[in-house]
Symmetry: C2
Subunit: 758 residues, 2 copies
Amino acid sequence: MTPYLNLIAQNALAAGSTDHNVNLLILLVLGIGSGALLMALWLLKWVMAKDCGPDEMQKISNAIKAGAEAFLSRQNKTIVIIAGALGVLIFVLYAFVRGHHAFDPTDTALELALWTTLSFLLGAGCSVAAGYVGMWIAIRTNIRTAAAARTSLNDALQVALRGGAVSGLFVVAMSLVGVAGLYYLVFLVKAHGLEAGTPEYDKLVKQIPYIIAGYGFGASLVALFAQVGGGIYTKAADVGADLVGKVEKGIPEDDPRNPAVIADLVGDNVGDCAGRGADLFESTAAENIGAMILGVALFPYFGVGGVMFPLVARSFGLIASVAGIMIVRTDEDADPMDALNKGYYLTSALAFVGFIIASYWLLRTEGEFLADAWQYYTACAAIGIVCSVAFLYITQYYTEYKYKPVLSIAEASLTGPATNVIQGIAVGLECTLMSVIAIAVAVLASYHLGQEALPQLDPVAAGLFGTAVATMGMLGPAGYVLAMDTFGPITDNAGGIVEMSHQPDSVRQKTDRLDAVGNTTKALTKGYAIGSAALAAFLLFSAYLDEIKNFTQAASYVTVDLVKPEIFIAALLGAMVVFFFSSLCIRAVGTAAQSVITAVRIQFKERPGIMEGKQDPDYGAVVDIVTKDALRKMVAPGLVVVGSVIAVGLLFRALAPDNDPELGAKAVAGFLMSATISGILMATFLNNAGGAWDNAKKYIELGKGAGGKGSDQHKAAVVGDTVGDPFKDTAGPSLHVLIKLLATLTLVLAPLFIAGSH
Amino acid sequence: MTPYLNLIAQNALAAGSTDHNVNLLILLVLGIGSGALLMALWLLKWVMAKDCGPDEMQKISNAIKAGAEAFLSRQNKTIVIIAGALGVLIFVLYAFVRGHHAFDPTDTALELALWTTLSFLLGAGCSVAAGYVGMWIAIRTNIRTAAAARTSLNDALQVALRGGAVSGLFVVAMSLVGVAGLYYLVFLVKAHGLEAGTPEYDKLVKQIPYIIAGYGFGASLVALFAQVGGGIYTKAADVGADLVGKVEKGIPEDDPRNPAVIADLVGDNVGDCAGRGADLFESTAAENIGAMILGVALFPYFGVGGVMFPLVARSFGLIASVAGIMIVRTDEDADPMDALNKGYYLTSALAFVGFIIASYWLLRTEGEFLADAWQYYTACAAIGIVCSVAFLYITQYYTEYKYKPVLSIAEASLTGPATNVIQGIAVGLECTLMSVIAIAVAVLASYHLGQEALPQLDPVAAGLFGTAVATMGMLGPAGYVLAMDTFGPITDNAGGIVEMSHQPDSVRQKTDRLDAVGNTTKALTKGYAIGSAALAAFLLFSAYLDEIKNFTQAASYVTVDLVKPEIFIAALLGAMVVFFFSSLCIRAVGTAAQSVITAVRIQFKERPGIMEGKQDPDYGAVVDIVTKDALRKMVAPGLVVVGSVIAVGLLFRALAPDNDPELGAKAVAGFLMSATISGILMATFLNNAGGAWDNAKKYIELGKGAGGKGSDQHKAAVVGDTVGDPFKDTAGPSLHVLIKLLATLTLVLAPLFIAGSH
C-alpha cells in the first residue's frame, strides 16, 4: 500500500495545469460534498438534541428501533454475501475470461479487474451505508417528531424534515464524494509521470469514467435488494395488520392491541427509508458516472470541464438543497404542504442558478455570448427542472382527492370493491399518457438543444450530452426531494407512536396533518424518481453503447436494429422480465401477508385478553415472521434481473454469425431499452394506481364520500387501498431500481457479450 | 364496367403458362374456399333444421335475438361511417397528397388510390360480414342447443359446435376467398397484354400483394371497433347484472327476475361471437397478405409458387378444419372437452399434412431431396403448430383449477377480496414468462430454419419467410379454433335459456357441463389469438419495412435503431398507447356497468313486484342503455390508435433532418414494434388473470374450496372474477386486434411518413 500512497502524494503535487485543472475541480467537488456531509451531521445533532417525550412513547419507539435494526442487519448480511459473490465473479471475468485488449483503459487485465471490482464493492458498500443511514435517522426522528407535536406544528414539521434531510444530504453527498473520490484515486495513481496537457494525460482523464463504472453497478445491485426486501416487508406487515385488525377485528389503525402493529411501523422505516435511500443513492451515482462518460465525447471542446461538469453541477445542487431545507417553517394553522413546496421551489431555483454558473464556467465555446454553448446547456437544465415540476403536477392530479381521477374511484366504490378496483386500474393505466408525453418532450427538446450547442460535433454525441444535462437538471434538487421523501415515513411513524401512547387528540391532529402531507410527498417523490430514472436510463444506455463502440473499436455507432428478429426477441424478453419481476414482488407481498394474518389470528386465539387490553400481544413474533419471509422472497426477483441479462447476452452471443460478432451485446441493448420502456410504464401505472386508491379511501374516511368510515363504500375503498399497497410500495419503487440496475449491469458486463472477445 | 369485364375475360384465357400457373393456383384456392363456404352453408342448414324447443324457450331466445341484432345494426352504422370517412381519406391521400412515383406498382396515382381504397372498403365490408355471421348463427344456435340438451349431451354438443363451425368456416373461407379473389381481380385487369413469364408479367405478380394491402387494414379497423364495442357491451351488462343481481339481491345468475339478464345474454353474442369473428377474420386476412409480401422476396426461387403458398396452405387448413369438426362426438358420461380436443388434434395433424403437400409442391429448390428447401419449411410449419399447442397448455395451466395458479387464488380468497385481487394480478403477470419464451423459441427457430432453406438468398428475407411459414402453421387450424371459440357463447346462452325457462335439473346439468367446457375453449382461443398475433405481427412489420424500402428504393434494409432518441421516444409512445388504450377499455366497462346498476336499481324500486315474480322487468330498457353506452365508448379507443400512429408519423417526419428523410417512417416502425411487444404482454396478462379469477370462483362454487357458494371466500372470489371481466373480455381481446390494426394501418400509410415524398 505504501508505494501507492507515495504515488498519490507525488501526483497530487505534480498534476494539474490545464485550463480547467482536474485537481481544482475535484477538490471543489469534494469540498462541497464534505461540507454537505458536515451539514448533515449538524442537522443530526440538532435533531438528536430534541426531546424524546415520555416513557410510553419511548417504549414504542424502542420496539420499532429494535425491529428495524434487526431486519436491516440480517438483510445486509444476505446482501453482502450476494454482492461478495458477484464481486468475485466480476474479478474473475475481467481478469481471466475477458482477456486484455490494447484499447483497455489500463495496462493489464489484472489492473482493470482490480479497479472494476474495487469500484463495484465500494459502490455496494456505500449503498448499504446509504440505506442504513436512512433507516438510522428515521427511527430516531419519529419519536422526536411525536414529542415535538405536543408543543407546535412547526416544531414537529421542522424535526421531521430535518431528520429526513440528514438522510437526503448524506445520501446525495456520499454519492458525489464517492464518485469524485474514486475518480481522483484512479487519477492520482495513474497520472504518475504524466505531464498535464499531453495526449496520454488527456486520454487518462477520459478513460477514468469507464474504469469506475462498476461503482454504479454495485450501488444499484444493493439498492435493488434493499428496495425489494424492504418493500415486501413494509407491505406484508401493512396488509396483514390491516386485514386482521381493521377488517376482521374492527380496531383502528395503529391500535396497540394489534400484534402486527409494530411490524407495520418497522416496515415504514425499512421499506420507505432504507429502500428509497439506497435507490436515490444509486440514481445519483449512476447518473454522475453516465453523464461523465458522455462528457468525454465533448473533450475536444471543453476538456476536463466537460467530464467534471456533472459533478460540479451536482455539488451546487447540494448547496441549493441545504438552503431549501433550512427555510421551511409553517404557521400553526397553515397547510404544511405549502411550506414544503416553498422549500422545493427555492431549491429548484437555486439549483438552476448553480447550473447557470457551472455552464458558464465549464461549458463555454468560442461562440458569440448570446449563442454560446453554455446557454443551450442552461436551457437543457431548465427543461429537466420543468420536467420534474411537470411530474409533480401529474402525480398530484392523479393521486390527490381534489381532482377527478381519485373522485371517480371514490364514486366507483359505491357499487362495491370490484368497481373500485376496476376504476383504480383504469386510472393507473391512464396516467401513463401525460407522464410519457412529459418525458418525450424533455428528451427530444434537450437532444435538439444539445445538437445546437455544438453543431461542429457528431450530432448524436452532442445531442446526448444535451439530454444528460437535462437529467442533471432534474436530479439537481435530489437532496431536498429525498428529505421530503423520508419525511413521509417519519411522520407516519410519529402518528403511530402518538396513537399507541394514547396522547391527547390535539397532538394526534397535528401528526395526522403531517402524515397526510407525508403521503403526498411520498407519492410525489415516486413520480420524481420514475421521471429521473427514465431520463437517466436513456443516458446510461448511451454509455453502454459507447462502451461497446470503444471495445470493438468500431468506427460508427452501434445500431440496435429492432427489425432483426434476434433484437426484437431480446426486446420482447426484456419487457417480459418487467412483468415477471412485478409478479414476483406483488405475489411475495400477498403470501407474506397471509402468514402475518395467520400468525395474528393465532395470537388473538391463544391470548383472548388482548382485545380487552388485559394481555400484551407478542409484537416480536410477528416482526420475526415478516423479517424471515421478506428476506427469503427478496432473493428471487433480484436474481431474475441479473440472471436474465447474462442469459440473453450469452445466448445471442452464441447465436452470433461471423459477420456480426456484437450480436450478443446488441441483443442485450435491445433487452435493456425495452425493459426500460416497460419499466417506466409499469412503475408509473403501479405507483399512481396505488396512490389514487390510498387517497380515495382517505377521502371517504374524511366523510366526504356518500358513506363515511365503516360504510360499504369505505369497505370497498379499503380493498382498493390494500391492492394498491404492493403496487405502490413494493413493485413500483423496485422497478425504478431495476431500470438503473439493468443499465449499470450491462455497462459492466458489456465486453462479455461480444463474440471472439475471449 | 364493361371494358373491365372484357379485360377480365381475355386475361383469364391468355394468362398462365409458367411452371406454377397463377390461374391454376388461384382457382384451386378459390375452389377450396368456395367449398368451405358451401360446407358452412350445409352445416347452417343442419343446425337450422334442429328443434327450437318449447315456447317459453323461444320467448327468451327471441328477446336475445332482438337485442343482439339491434346492437349490431347500430354498431355497424357507426362503423360504416368511420370506415367510409377513412376510405375517403385514404383515397385523397393516395390520389392527391402522396403523389405518384415511378416505382409505384400501378400506372397512375389515381389507379393506385382506387385499388387501395377498393381493397380497404372490401376488407372493411367483409369484416362487418364476418362479425354479423358470427352473431347471426350464435343467436340461432343457442336455442337449438338448449332444446337438444333435453335429449342428449352429444346432440347438444354437436349442435353447438357445428353452429360455431358455421361462423368458423365462413370467416376463414371468406378471408381466403377475399384475398385470393382480390388478387385475381387485379391480376386479370392488369395482366392484359402481358405474356406469361416476361419480366413485366413477373413484376405484376410480385406487386399485387402491395396493391391489396388495404384489405387487411379495412378488416382490422372494423374488427377493432367490433371487438371494443362488443367487449364493452358484454362486460358492462355482465358486471352490472352480477353486482345488482347476485350481490345486492342475492338471486342466482341468469335469473329471469333480473332486468339486466337479457342484456347479459345479448352481450355474449355481440362481444364474443361478433367481436371475435371480426378479429380472427382480420388475423387470417392480414397474415395472408403479409406472408404473400414476404413470399415475393423468394420469387427468384419459387416464382408464383412462393407468392401463392400462403393461400394454398391456408386452403388445405380449411379442409382439415372441416374434418376436425365432423368427427367430434361424445358419450353421455364422458368429458366433452376430450371430444373437442380430439377434433383439435385431428385438425392440427391434417393441417400439417397439408403443409407437407403444399411445401413439396410449391417450395422445392434444386437441392438434394433430404436437404431441399421444402423440408425446412415443413419444419417451420411444425414449429408453428407446436407453438400453438404450447400456448394451449400454458393457458390451461394458468387458468384451470387443476393447477397451482388458480388454486393459489382460491386460497388467497380466504383472507378476503384484496388478497384475491393481489394474487390474481400476480398470476396474470407471471404467465407472460412461459408465453414469451414460447414465442421467442418459435420465432428464432423458424427464422434460423428459413435461412437454412435458402442459404443463397439474403439471410433476412430468407429467415423472415421461415417465420411466416411458422405463423401459417399456427393459423392452419384457425377454422376449427374459431368454431371452438364460438361454441363458448352458444353454450353460455343455452345455459341461460334453460335456466330462465325453468327446465328440469337434468337438462341444466348438461348445459352446465357444456358451459364449463365453453369457458375453457374461450380462454384457450384467447391464448391462441395472442400467440398468432405475436407471430403475425412480426411478419407484418417486416412487410411494412419492405414497403418503405421499395418506396424509397433504398439499397439496403431500413434500420429501426433504438439508440436514436427519436426512435426510442417513438417506442416509448407506442408502449404507452397500449397502456392508455387498455385504460379506456377497462374504464368504459366500469362506468357503463355503473349505469346498468343504477337503471336496474330503479326498476326494482319502481316495480316492487319483480322480486316475487308478479311484475315483469323491462329487459329492453337495460338493453337500450348498454347499447348506447357501449357505442358511445367504443369510438375513443379506436380513434386513439389510428390518431396516435398518424401523429407520431407526421411529428417525426416534420423533425426529420435532410440526411434522414425516412425518420418519420422509422419512428412509426419503432412505435409499432414497441406497441406490439407491450400489447402481447398486456393482453397475455389481462386474458390469463381474468381466466384464472373466473375459474377460482368456479372452483369455490363447486364446493372445492374451504367455503362454498355464499361463503366469504366465495364473495372474495366474485370480486376478483368481476375485476377480471373487463380484463379478459374487453381490453385483452381488443389488444389482439390493436396489434394487427397498427401493423396494417402503418403498411397502408407508410409513404406518408417519408419526408419529401410529396
